[in-house]
Symmetry: C2
Subunit: 331 residues, 2 copies
Amino acid sequence: MSLFTAADAPTFDDVLSAADRLDGLAVRTPLISSPTLDARIGAQVLLKAEPLQRTGSFKFRGAYNALSRLGDEARRRGVVAFSSGNHAQGVAEAAKLLDIPATIVMPSDAPEIKKAGVIARGAELKLYDRETESREALAWQLCEESGRTLIPSFDHPHIIAGQGTCGLEVFQELSGRGLKAGRLVCCVGGGGLIGGINLAAEALSPETETFGAEPEGFDDHARSLASGELETNERKGGSVCDALLSPAPGELTFAINKRRLSGVGVVSDDEAMDAVRFAFEHLKIVVEPGGAAALAAVLSGRVEPAASGVTVIVLTGGNVDPGVFARAIGA
Amino acid sequence: MSLFTAADAPTFDDVLSAADRLDGLAVRTPLISSPTLDARIGAQVLLKAEPLQRTGSFKFRGAYNALSRLGDEARRRGVVAFSSGNHAQGVAEAAKLLDIPATIVMPSDAPEIKKAGVIARGAELKLYDRETESREALAWQLCEESGRTLIPSFDHPHIIAGQGTCGLEVFQELSGRGLKAGRLVCCVGGGGLIGGINLAAEALSPETETFGAEPEGFDDHARSLASGELETNERKGGSVCDALLSPAPGELTFAINKRRLSGVGVVSDDEAMDAVRFAFEHLKIVVEPGGAAALAAVLSGRVEPAASGVTVIVLTGGNVDPGVFARAIGA
């Protein structure tokens, strides 16, 4: 189910326009180096630290870009979003900034820190059962009843363009330092972030190969790239990478990603948790398991570093419950 | 006990010289903004994130600067350092880079992550009992037996100048963004870091008021500022802020700090642990309790934010054992 077709896919100009909207509101997150990581990988690595983004993940970028483009009438009526938690917080934060009523549909097993983040921002929270209920149906029903606008978590031109500002910052910063990215590795749920990054890479750094990272059992992008068609996951939940459990690539996101994504590394839950621990011990950044999937893919050797130029790894979010984090770090 | 007198205190030129030595080796750590923190404090705050420094704390800066200035003969003989753990890792890392043998004297109750960091870098570790043994005596004995050079953790011109590069980066970055720091808050153990920062502030940002932060029971700088003399702590251990338990200000460091430090906020262990949790939940940075003392001082209201200009908070280190971190985040 998508609101759009591939013809509606955004362009690099849309990413630039999103960057204007986000200026002064989104955090320009740092691109971090770690001698320990470089030694471990045997290559020069730079980490784009999106856990340091407003709301603790990159999702604020797309959410604010989308909400800020709604007209007065749509703003008054409000928005609905369904999300495992990070898009939820991005939408809630953007809605708060723009004074738009927001209702968020989240799975009942979402991390508590993500539920609390939505409520703290003044949005209305509706929970559903991931195994038995359809969040799409629930969200559509809410929209039909109230005239609210649905804000999809990835398959929307404004969302993809907003996430693309993450890539824009990476390539601008590298250029300023006189560096080139041979490879960029980023986790993939619905493919919105890597889609936006791919738009920036096409325009600013065509030599950069982009790779995805997915959790085992949710390797829809890996299979879709192989078949050329949109492949769907059989499982609906059960991975510690709660942020990456989208059922299938988006129409729009896959239209972009299939022309540019060089491959996908599939990581186990244990590998994701090991990457969370590595980030705790050596990078000193709080990363949630899904947000550490790209780091896990490189640490586990499932994605090789660049043969020339730097390897950029995107850490995408850090909204993790204390209990899960304690387990990851062996406390 | 100091190897130096106040007349040996370094100058801003020494900080600039240290920056040259550290170029390409130390991480230029980011200055991070957090809309959540700004809202909580009611002021524009920027965080200098030294947990992201090589070895997980700012200590690499001074250690490398000092070791890189040793002559060939001294390098062959090696170095000795005593430290609660972060200076230990800084010296061990610098010694490894420069191929200098290093022996580190650490308290037996130091965090395991800090002991492991020393051993992983190939240095020799000697443990002592914080309550019954003198680390100074032990270190001197090692130096006399072996002809090795003692590298103090704070009261040394090259150490202070090296730590000052942290302040240099802060004021250069602010200047590049067209901002001025009204206040800068930084935790204080022996006063080496804030001493170096004060040298940078005098030269580049004289309008910036600097404040320290100390743990309860280890408020030697607060009392020394009040009396104008070097005051000593009665306690030797027992605070969760293991990085900040120096017995007294240094001769050199206090010579600088007494002319420039506007005040010191004294924080409880609970306030330090609350700041660790805040950094986990909202900043997504791993900070050790001592490294979070300045954040704790501002969050608790013990140090007010700047009335005009930005407030800079230095997060100094992130080497914390998983068990302590889990306790801080309520896992």
